[in-house]
């Protein structure tokens, strides 16, 4: 074996650019980031001031369309005095609890069933049509059934979130299992993997790229499930705040709740990305690194 020769012939692909070029590229990248950030802020400033101006000038009726300054005041009031249902943080905590519980349960069931049906032709043949049929129902209507069955509390919201999350994760896990490279499976079998080891050591990690891609959308679905559930009937939560604001003709309240939801959703999205990077660190970096 001539190991020295080989390592000289084949250096790893990750090339290290020279320090001068590296520094210049960094400066360039930083400049571009600053420009992009300024433009981003500018877009929202123009939009919000146009809205504010239009409603103050009575071009649009503030009674129906609200105005940004009142939305801010509404959020401030909720923070200081609490909402009609109690302190603001309590409403956020309730909605988050429903969302996270629904998300976790839906993901676990989706992965287990997706892999089971992906692995077994007979299971896929028997249950496939039922799952397709269930998926074609607009599942939000199930919210009413869940409230009748489970009441106004937490379980009915969690159930709706689970139903919404499950199908997204299930179809991705199923497809992920179907797309596993046949060579990898043959290789693992020859190397001595048992059927169980095939599932845990080859199929699950291979399907994980697909599954994780579904987590981004499915967390959004979990939030939709919780909010719609609260909207249909609840005693706490952001969805109820929206319903109350609607009932009292308070557009600023609806917008304020939307802002709070957006913040919550973005924080959750960042968390999912963090988990994603932790779980699939073996993946090559994507070619472009534009982040939204």
């Amino acid at each position: 074996m001539n190991a020295q020769n080989n390592t000289q012939l084949e250096t790893p692909r990750r090339l290290i650019p020279s320090s001068g070029e590296d520094a210049r590229r960094q400066v360039q990248a930083r400049r571009q980031r600053i420009v992009v950030n300024i433009l981003r802020v500018l877009v929202s400033v123009i939009f919000l001031s146009a809205w504010e101006f239009a409603s103050r000038a009575q071009w649009i009726d503030p009674f129906f369309f609200g105005q940004p300054s009142d939305v801010v005041i509404q959020i401030w009031t909720w923070i200081i005095r609490g909402t009609a249902q109690g302190p603001l943080w309590e409403q956020i905590a309730v909605t988050l609890e429903e969302t996270v519980l629904g998300f976790l349960i839906g993901v676990v069931f989706g992965i287990i069933l997706g892999i089971a049906l992906g692995r077994s032709q007979i299971l896929a043949d028997v249950f496939g049509p039922y799952i397709k049929a269930a998926n074609s129902i607009p599942r939000v209507v199930l919210g009413s059934i869940f409230i009748i069955w489970l009441g106004l509390g937490l379980p009915s919201k969690v159930a709706l979130a689970v139903v919404l999350v499950f199908f997204v994760v299930f179809f991705n896990a199923f497809q992920g299992v179907r797309e596993v490279d046949r060579n990898l499976i043959a290789n693992a079998r020859i190397l001595g993997a048992s059927p169980r080891q095939l599932s845990t050591d080859v199929i699950l990690p291979s399907a994980l790229t697909w599954i994780i891609a579904s987590l981004h959308t499915s967390f959004g679905f979990a939030l939709v499930g919780a909010i719609v559930g609260e909207y249909l009937g609840a005693v706490h939560g952001i969805g109820l705040m929206i319903a109350t604001a609607q009932g009292t003709f308070n557009p600023n309240g609806v917008f304020a709740a939307m802002v709070i939801l957006a913040v919550v959703a973005l924080l959750a999205e960042a968390l999912v990305t963090l988990i994603e990077n932790r779980l699939i660190k073996w993946r090559p970096q994507p070619v472009s690194d534009i982040s939204f």
Partner: protein
Amino acid sequence: MKSNHSSPALELYSVTKRFPTSNGQPYTALHDLNLNVRTGEFLAIVGPTGSGKSTTLTLMAGLEPPSVGEVRVHSEPLRGLNPYVGYMFQNDAVFPWKNVLENVAAGPLFRHVPRDQAHVSARDWIQRVGLEGFEGYYPHQLSGGMRKRVALAQTLIHQPEILLMDEPFSALDVQTRALMEDELLAMWTTLSATTVFVTHDLEEAIALADRVCVLTAGPATVKGIYEIDLPRPRHVAEVRFEPRFVELYHEIWEDLRHEVMISYERTKQHTT
């Protein structure tokens, strides 16, 4: 796991393999194929593209059962996976989510060798294939040649009695390929594993093997078997210039060319 040296390591006994296709007509990859692999030899199988070379290997490994006929390992009929084989695939079959160390240690870990022990022998094999220092790298960070080394170490760590290789170096550039071929020969000598090496490259086959088996255009059967009496140890890059090598090449190419032409005519008909 060594056993009786006088009996052939592997026998394909009038083996036929058909695959179902989407148009309902089964596709026959192998037809009534008989082949003995002697214990300890290096057998190369050549044939035109799509002639069922890879199918022959999957039958030998027990990944697929034959439709007709029998595969025998040490004179025993093979059922299920062949426990004696190591298999190197044509395409990358290393696990992209495992780093080099975990990839090489995968086999022993599947077979419940304790983690410490598996890592010790993995490090040993990583060193033997010349990848020291790359233990923590993931496959996507390595060149094609380095990934082949990982696959080689992953396969050889079990010290398989029978080594099946399916065009393992066909994706490599010429220099890297010659290097890997020499290293393979060096390791083959120390391991004394029975080796079946599938390739479409006749030069590679003659340079490496003790015997070269030519398959017919599909459905494949054995067209001829040639003893390669070139002395060992061989240096792959140099042996090609020896007069005896050229002589053998001409002799076998006459056989092979005919089959290549048949297969070429067929693909032409398919495309026009």
